[in-house]
């Protein structure tokens, strides 16, 4: 019941925290410039937790809470998979599983001019990059990288898209390659696009391979590395 008086913030790092926990006391810290990531908020001199998860710290001064959700919080420079919902004169409206619809400017393509505006139907799946994301405003997307080149962004045709949590997306994009993708990649050839908003797109030669890859990824969320490998081996054995 009592708040245990702890003298150093190191005690909370890599621990599971719940909303309400006060993890940092700015008045007692020497270096007072701190970068707060997701899940933390500032209450005058105390930094308290907003989302349940694990508190992480990265030198020199970044703190954030890592958690896995079904919805996405838009951040700049994230690559996500969006679904076109509508098209206006200047923008496409794209759903990226965030609190608001995102805008994709009609000219945000490599060599994009008013004469060659791409035509996306409602429901098209796009691999895009988040350019602007601030509270209260609709996020802005782009189909080019920072230097203006196309770089694999754009529409994804064929294949199959499914939704998982943001934690699974981060695991699939981590390096070294996560065990489930490594085990699948040894035996099958397939193409995959992972969005940090929890959407994953898979394409392979045959439909049964696509379904196998999708099922393997969806069931790998709560498994450890070795269990993921065993699960993939079981799946592959039954189908080949």
């Amino acid at each position: 019941m009592d708040g245990k008086p702890l003298t150093s913030p190191a005690s909370f790092i890599d621990q599971m925290v719940v909303p309400g926990d006060v993890v940092l006391d700015l008045s007692s810290m020497a270096n007072q410039t701190i970068k707060l990531g997701g899940g933390l908020r500032q209450d005058s001199d105390a930094i308290s937790v907003m989302k349940a998860g694990k508190l992480k710290f990265s030198r020199p001064n970044k703190y954030w809470v890592e958690s896995s959700q079904k919805r996405y919080v838009p951040c700049v420079e994230d690559t996500v998979l969006g679904v076109v919902v509508d098209s206006k004169a200047d923008n496409f409206l794209v759903d990226i599983k965030g609190p608001a619809l995102a805008f994709l400017p009609v000219l945000a393509f490599e060599g994009g001019t008013r004469r060659n505006i791409p035509k996306f139907e409602v429901g098209s799946l796009l691999y895009v990059r988040v350019v602007k994301a601030s509270a209260g405003m609709n996020p802005e997307l782009s189909c080019t990288d920072a230097s203006g080149k196309a770089a694999e962004f754009g529409i994804l045709k064929d294949g199959y898209m499914f939704e998982t949590s943001t934690g699974v997306s981060r695991m699939l994009l981590s390096s070294p390659t996560c065990p489930v993708l490594e085990a699948l990649g040894k035996k099958l050839s397939f193409e995959i696009a992972v969005g940090l908003n929890g959407r994953v797109w898979v394409n392979a030669g045959s439909t049964s391979m696509i379904i196998l890859v999708a099922n393997a990824i969806m069931s790998s969320e709560s498994l450890s590395g070795t269990k993921q490998k065993i699960m993939v081996e079981n799946l592959l054995r039954r189908f080949q």
């Binding site: 708040g3 245990k4 702890l6 719940v18 006060v22 006391d25 105390a46 308290s48 609190p99 509270a135």
Partner: protein
């Protein structure tokens, strides 16, 4: 004076608590909370763009839908929705996602007394599961006044009907903090004495009410610990 409870609990004993999260596939957050035989499921959808009429567009809006077991929605359900909406509005950080709506849907699976506290606990767990930003958690408890100033906790439906008065109390959870003890203050009052919601049925004297608050606050610490353990798994 020892009270005889028909399920042979002591006065301060709570029914067994159980909480499971992420049980619904399509909901963005979901939880099922049971206290003994009272079971409530909560589902959270959101935040989604758009806001209801007459709501402040500079803040997030919370919408609550209460579905009773027998599917007849009446005034009691509307009252529960309003109490829940006010309680959840005070624990969510509403300024983070302005002009959005978060919908909380509660389904009463079984009602065996103290269904509103069970629903508040379930919706708090579901909000955490959905990743909605919260200032702190809410833990709810029901205290019933059993004649001659003695208070029993977490009554069943039979006990609620027999008692002269009962009250639902919602407290903020007990937090772990790096600040020295006793320094979390809001408006000059220590956080340990905070109360979020109080709903009373029946006639209760001021002294009895204050005693209920005290017992309820002590019990909320146990529920708070249980909630913390269940969120960490």
């Amino acid at each position: 004076m020892e009270i005889d409870r028909h399920d042979s609990r002591t006065r301060n004993q709570l029914r067994p608590l159980a909480c499971s999260r992420n049980i619904l596939n399509r909901a963005h957050g979901s939880a099922r909370w049971s206290q003994g035989d009272t079971i409530v499921m909560a589902a959270v959808y959101g935040p989604k763009a758009g806001i209801r009429k007459n709501e402040n567009p500079e803040k997030a809006c919370i919408e609550v839908i209460w579905k009773p077991r027998t599917d007849q929605v009446g005034k009691a359900e509307k009252e529960y929705e309003m109490i829940l909406k006010r309680t959840l509005q005070s624990i969510c950080v509403l300024t983070i996602n302005p002009n959005t709506t978060t919908t909380v849907i509660l389904q009463v699976v079984n009602d065996d007394g103290s269904v509103l506290p069970c629903a508040i606990n379930a919706s708090c767990a579901a909000l955490v599961d959905a990743g909605i930003p919260l200032k702190h958690l809410a833990v709810a408890i029901c205290c019933a006044l059993a004649g001659s100033g003695s208070v029993i906790l977490d009554p069943t439906k039979l006990e609620e009907q027999k008692m002269e008065a009962f009250t639902y109390l919602v407290f903020p959870n007990s937090v772990l903090s790096v600040l020295p003890e006793g320094s979390l203050h809001v408006d000059g009052e220590p956080m340990e004495h905070a109360i979020i919601t109080s709903v009373t049925h029946g006639v209760i004297s001021v002294d009895d009410y204050l005693y209920c608050l005290e017992r309820g606050h002590a019990a909320s610490a146990k529920i708070s610990d249980f909630l913390r353990r269940s969120l960490q798994s």
